[in-house]
Amino acid sequence: MGEFKVHRVRFFEYMPSPIRAMAFNSRTDRLAVARGDGAVEIFNFADNYFQEKVIPGQDSRAVEALCWVGQRLFSAGLNGEITEYDLENLRPKYTVMAYGGPAWTLSMSTECFLCQVGCEDGTVKMFEILEERIQFQRNHDRQKGRIISLSWHPSGTHIAAGMMGMIRIFETETGSPANKEVVVWSVAFLSDHTVISGDSAGKVQVWDGFTGTLIKTHLITKWDVLALSDQSSLVAGTSEGTVTQFQFLPLIVGQQDKEWVRTRTFKNHSHDVRALAHTETAVVSGGMDTQLVVQPLLDRVEKNTQESALRKIAFPHRSLVCCAKKSGLLLFQFPEHLELWRLGESDGHGKPGDSLPVRKKPEKLIHLKRKGEDHICCSALSPCGGWLAYTTVSSVRLYRLQYNNNSISIKKLPKLPKELCSAHQLCFSSDSSKLFASSKHSSVIVVALGQSECKYLHTLKPKSGYGTTEQPVHLLFVSEDSKWLAAANTGCEIHIYNLNKLKLHCTVPVYSSCPTAIAIHPVTSNLVTVHANQQIFEYSLAQKEYTEWSRKLQKQGLHNLWLERDTPITHISFNPNNQAHIILHDMFMLCIIDQSLPLPDRKTLLYNQMTLRSVPESERLRHSHAFKICKNFQHLLCVSTLEDQALVVVERPLLDIMSQLPAPVRQKKFAT
């Protein structure tokens, strides 16, 4: 099939932020995860655990607790504020000061639409949840120490608060003091008035909520029990990285008397487990080691299905790397800054398997720090390398870059059109003459770029009406000839705009799974989409229908091993040398689909590169199929083609991330 020259890049020092809190919404199957840098991510558990939305962080926002009320998401943090998020525009909707110092915990009662915040000054503050905002209602009696954890009784009549050395149940006012100085990191209030606590002495304790008496103690770790979550069974996370499950079972089979029994222990983390969620079928955990782990409970799922597989989500499901094809430049996005690198150059030719001598090393051209408190949510580099743009939730910034031999100058465009105030996605046309920015209500703003100024041209909008959502656009792609613009949103819609006429051309039939990558073929103008459930479609923009190849693929079905992969495809590009080649990648592999070859059927060996290598050349064609999968490169963040037909792969080995983490021991926070 062919040889490729590959620039193997490992200098993107991407460092995910540790997980601090999470909340699972069983009604919508969405998991909200808060990270150490204040970013909040939404995963759709019903759609292959796809990372649907990311709300970028902010310097001052340290989220300590997350909570769903219906479809609304709230957080509380050490800045003492309660924040509700706008999940359509991916930004905080409003914040309310709790006036109690840092807020440590947040608990919602869906029964009576109340939310309570545990504060540094020892107060539990009650807020009423109204349609568009929340309103302070009253304080509970002030306690001596800070309130670390809260849990509502499902009926909404009582709330248990964990603090230094004691648990207090409000309304009934029956406290249960403990002897030793311990921090009650987490409490759970069960419907039968049992209160369960996890503390810094490594114990999970079961209390009678009426009398305040201790029923049972389980010592599960030498260190701290940091998190608890319940849903018919109870899970506890520790700073050793373990998650222990407890179940309410009769001690003797057939008898009525039940007790909380320790049943299973999972060790999927190297560091503290800071956050836990218990879904119907799985335990979701996250912490200092930055990975989100979905551990299925094998008694709740069918064996040997995709649902029963352990899943680790290490990388974001969106792109942090932008490659300027024409100039060999790479843009790396960090929450705090951007890095612009020029790829190196190599000498001569080599045979497959060789590393070529590097004549010129890669060079870091620019380290651009962002302005203001808000973190960078997306960025883009024009294909010529002459323009660079990034956005935060509050602003968009556009820069002009000029290269003179060895020097580089960067100039910020002072005035941007007022329409361009914020964006979820940015994209430059291939001739670098236009900038596209996705905005509110799935709209896309078109801006023309001049030598040193820019001009607002138009706002592209999908037809509003029955069935359309107003979800944010998370993918944008402009065709090579700048005629077509494809915009995909988290409502699974893909709109195609004709840029010559500046109007909507068509909407691709809505598929049930969210697109994870889209691209338009430079020659055939077919739109290729890959979805969270790993399905691939090819849609002809001219005919406004799925192509013959796409129908064939759907009819025959994708190979099982392809469907079982557990990381989404995040980039699509095309081989400039061969029209039939589509280049895709996920975290663990790079795949070239050759549309001219037969599709693999159920019995075909999907990963057949080793076999093909070993058979004589004359027989290769007989054994080959459309999916050419290369696993030489792992932990991929980006694969892209360059104008000189070389490939760029950006790897970030997980081992490198691990080596940057702090030592896995308990971090003393205060008085523990």
Partner: protein, 632 residues
């Protein structure tokens, strides 16, 4: 022989982008041999429990500051001492969480390192050569610090030792291509200065290592051309005064290591004991030019004792604490346990027989040269005395009462020179045996057993002993004989076999050709029974979890198989005939079949296993490379 054991990872490293620096500034021992403090080259100090591979604590200086010398642990005060930004001394305890809130003192001159030898007090060595005890420095941190070194002179390496009562700081400097050694004694303060002999022009030592023995400091150093020298300095010294010409110290070439092409760049040599040196970053003599090896050399015999290839780049850093080597390579810091047993020429050549516990009881009796050359006067009379004694004992054995004989034997056994009497004991035992054979009422098994236990006997010395035991049905004695006699004839083995079917028999030495005809003498019942027993043993042994049943004295699986084959060979035709053996034969047949199948399956994967061995080790990928891939 010295050996390197399987290593394990203590922690991952973050080397610099161009892999010029491992990212580890230093490793120091903590409270005991199982705890170390690792200082990285930027901002943090981490304390590890080595056997658990677990970090127990970590301290970091603020962003913008950097640690400029490895942190040391002072076991007397249980405090850590480190230096940040060259001039700020920081002291903290294990329970301190934030370094910022701990003790700090700024001094007036740049510090090279802080040292704290076990048994000594922390000492501060300044970059310009001055030395202060930490306590006295902290009493007035801003005190003026004198300059000891000349203008273009700079410290390259330093250490600290405690010699009897005095503490010494040893450091080496370089000045215009010369290498100088300073020996700074503390309380009372003394300073000695030496000059090293010049190696080839332009070469200066890559690493130093120091040991202290008998009031002398042994300094070992490695040059880029692979030469390892040793110089010996007296701690008393010659009282050289400052400003005097530094004396040149004599040196001896210990090793000339193979360097392959070019010179060594990142390498070091570390003394492990009097005879062993650990070397990193030097090619293995039989593995080409690759320098990523850790080797142990014997300096007495100049032989390579153990070698290990380290994955990833070697930075030339190496530490050793209590039989563990700490070595950064690639992106990991590995701990490699090692042993260096006392070396002898035989062990260096690898010819020393593994001494068994039993053998060690009977040291070979080699008469000393002294005795032979200078012929002690007592010697002849002693021989005469021995001869007299033997004659008397023999007489007693022939006629004496059993009780008297017993007493005499006990007396004989309590003699310290029993080993020298080896021939006589054989003679005496054969007298006892022939008397027992002749006189059925005379038999003293305990005495005979005692004599066999001395291990002075063998079958040839008293050929009738085993037969006597068999005749008397004294199976315990038979077993003892089988265990201790190295030369039992096959006929006797078979005779024993007939008398009882036991494990001792299976373990005696035999030769097939001689054994086969004797085996034919066994009766059919015996054969079937024996085979059944062998099969039982085999089945027991083939279960993995079956512990060694009889401790050390149990036959091995191969011994059992050999016996099965032998017995079958000897009696096959007869066994086929007798009906009661049929089931047994079928069983044996099926397990032979399964064995054959297993072996043939193993044979099939042999090629693949070989291939695994030949597979190339994945090479380390750097930050950037341009590669060619091919898709089919």
């Amino acid at each position: 022989m010295a050996a390197l054991y399987e290593g394990y990872t203590l922690c991952g490293l973050v080397p610099e982008q161009n892999l010029s620096n491992s990212g580890v500034r230093g490793i120091e021992q903590e409270r005991d041999s199982d705890h170390v403090v690792v200082t990285d080259s930027t901002r943090s100090v981490t304390m590890y429990k080595v056997s658990d591979q677990k970090p127990l604590g970590r301290w970091t200086v603020k962003q913008g500051q950097s640690l400029t010398c490895p942190a040391v642990f002072n076991p007397k005060t249980k405090e850590y001492v480190a230096v940040s930004d060259n001039q700020v001394i920081r002291i903290w305890k294990e329970e301190d969480v934030l370094l910022d809130k701990t003790f700090k003192a700024t001094v007036s001159s740049d510090i090279w390192r802080v040292h704290c030898a076990h048994g000594g007090d922390p000492v501060v060595l300044f970059q310009r050569g001055a030395v202060r005890l930490l306590d006295s420095l902290l009493s007035a941190p801003q005190q003026p610090i004198e300059e000891i070194l000349a203008q273009e002179e700079a410290i390259r390496w330093s250490t600290n030792i405690v010699a009897e009562t005095q503490q010494f700081v040893i450091f080496t400097t370089e000045q215009k291509g010369d290498t100088l050694i300073y020996l700074q004694g503390l309380n009372p303060n003394t300073l000695q200065r030496y000059r090293l002999e010049r190696e080839e022009p332009g070469l200066s030592p890559l690493s130093f290592s120091v040991t202290y023995k008998d009031k002398h400091i042994h300094l070992l150093y490695l040059y880029p051309n692979g030469h390892v020298y040793q110089s010996v300095l007296s701690v008393r010294g010659l009282g050289t005064e400052e400003g005097l010409q530094a004396l040149q110290v004599p040196r001896g070439l210990l090793l000339a290591l193979p360097v392959g092409e070019g010179l060594l760049e990142a390498a070091s040599a570390l003394v492990l004991d009097e005879a062993h040196v650990a070397v990193v970053g030097v090619p293995h003599p039989s593995a080409g030019a690759c320098k990523d090896f850790l080797c142990i050399w014997n300096t007495n015999f100049q032989t390579l004792q153990a070698g290990k290839e380290m994955a990833g780049k070697i930075y030339g850093q190496l530490w050793c604490y209590s039989n563990k080597l700490f070595i950064p390579h690639g992106k990991t810091l590995s701990v490699i346990p090692f042993v260096c047993p006392k070396s002898s020429l035989a062990s260096a050549l690898g010819k020393l027989k593994q001494a068994k516990a039993e053998e060690s009881k009977s040291p070979a009796s080699v008469p000393s040269w002294n005795k032979i050359l200078h012929g002690e006067k007592a010697q002849p009379s002693r021989t005469v005395e021995t001869r007299k004694m033997v004659r008397y004992t023999a007489q007693l054995f022939l006629n004496g009462l059993p009780k008297a004989v017993q007493k005499e034997v006990e007396g004989l056994l309590s003699r310290s020179d029993i080993q020298d009497l080896q021939p006589c004991v054989g003679q005496l035992v054969s007298i006892l045996v022939s008397r027992s054979l002749a006189d059925p009422s005379f038999y003293i098994p305990s005495t005979l057993a005692q004599l066999v236990h001395t291990q002075c006997l063998c079958h040839s010395a008293c050929p009738d002993l085993v037969l006597l035991a068999l005749e008397k049905k004294d199976y315990f004695l038979c077993q003892l004989c089988l265990q201790f006699f190295p030369d039992i004839p096959e006929a006797v083995t078979c005779a024993c076999l007939k008398a009882f079917i036991r494990n001792e028999v299976l373990q005696t030495a035999y030769s097939e050709t001689f054994l086969l005809p004797h085996l034919k003498d066994l009766s059919s019942q015996h054969v079937v029974l024996f085979l059944q027993y062998l099969q039982f043993l085999y089945l027991k042994y083939s279960q993995d979890d079956f512990p060694q049943m009889h401790g050390l004295r149990s036959p091995s699986l191969t011994q059992i198989m050999d016996w099965v084959c032998l017995v079958l060979d000897a009696h096959f035709t007869m066994l086929v005939m007798i009906p009661e053996a049929k089931g047994l034969l079928l069983n044996l047949h099926s397990f032979v079949k399964s064995q054959v199948r297993l072996v043939s399956e193993l044979g099939k994967i042999e090629g693949s296993l070989q291939e695994l061995k030949n597979m190339k080790v994945k090479k380390e990928v750097g930050q950037y490379s341009v590669e060619i891939i091919e898709l089919f």
